[in-house]
Amino acid sequence: MPEPEEQDFLLRASQGDQEAFGILYETYVERIYNYVYYRTGNIHDAEDLTAHVFFRAMHHIPTYTDRGVPFSAWLYRIAHNLIANWHRDRSRHQEIPLSDAPTLHYKGEPPETALEQTQERDALLRLIRHLPAERQHLLILKFVEHMSNSEIGETMDRSEGAVKSLYHRTLLSLRDELEELDPGE
């Protein structure tokens, strides 16, 4: 959605126009859902928390002030706070059940290879979920949203250089943790 158009919807939504908020919801629901899904690891909580994010946003939009950062940053902030509460409320939160994980098709590969790849992917996702919140956010924006470093910087309120440096540190530390898990690699 172009920025001036979004500003218009934001203004109307903050004045109580539910249709305008509905359009903002449709624009951002997938992004927030993906963020919550990869932070929680299961579809049920992703749906529940995504719904909460938008209802909270709807109730607080009359007090929303444009600070020059994208509207998505405000939504991600709400999502982040709700996920932090969710983690606090659960001492033992669920891991991704295999049936919940998005199905990836490995055409022409034997089932053992596909299973191995799925296990490898699950292990990596578990490692990602143990990273600090901002590193998880960065990886989601980079690989799920395919954002550039400057777009990520705008969303996370950081400079492009800081994003680049955090990205490299995150990847190297993930690589080290994977090597610790499986030194044979």
Binding site: Y38, A51, F55, P102, I128, V144
Partner: protein
């Protein structure tokens, strides 16, 4: 020294490239269920939000009214005490 640095930098670049490859396989956009998306959209459009906004506005007015009432009570109490002490002073001066 220079070649050692280059080797380290190449190794780190290799590590990053291999991690990027793995991450792009693991982190893929997920489509939320259509029923979920439509259900929430419908709730957003039908929730009486205008009433909520109005309620926020009326909360503000109520809060201001309470503040004015409390301030007025405190002011009257202080004024009353001041008048009483004045009357007392006059009485003691007469006696």
């Amino acid at each position: 020294m220079g070649s050692k640095m280059k080797r380290i930098s190449d190794a780190s670049r290799g590590k990053i490239a291999s991690m990027e490859h793995r991450l792009s396989g693991a982190l893929r956009p997920i489509q939320p269920r259509k029923e979920f998306v439509h259900g929430i959209a419908q709730r957003i459009r039908t929730t009486p939000r205008v009433a909520f906004v109005d309620r926020i506005a009326s909360w503000h007015i109520i809060a201001i009214l309470i503040a004015v009432l409390v301030s007025l009570t405190v002011f009257l109490a202080v004024l009353g005490r001041a008048l009483l002490s004045l009357v007392d002073k006059k009485r003691t001066a007469r006696t």
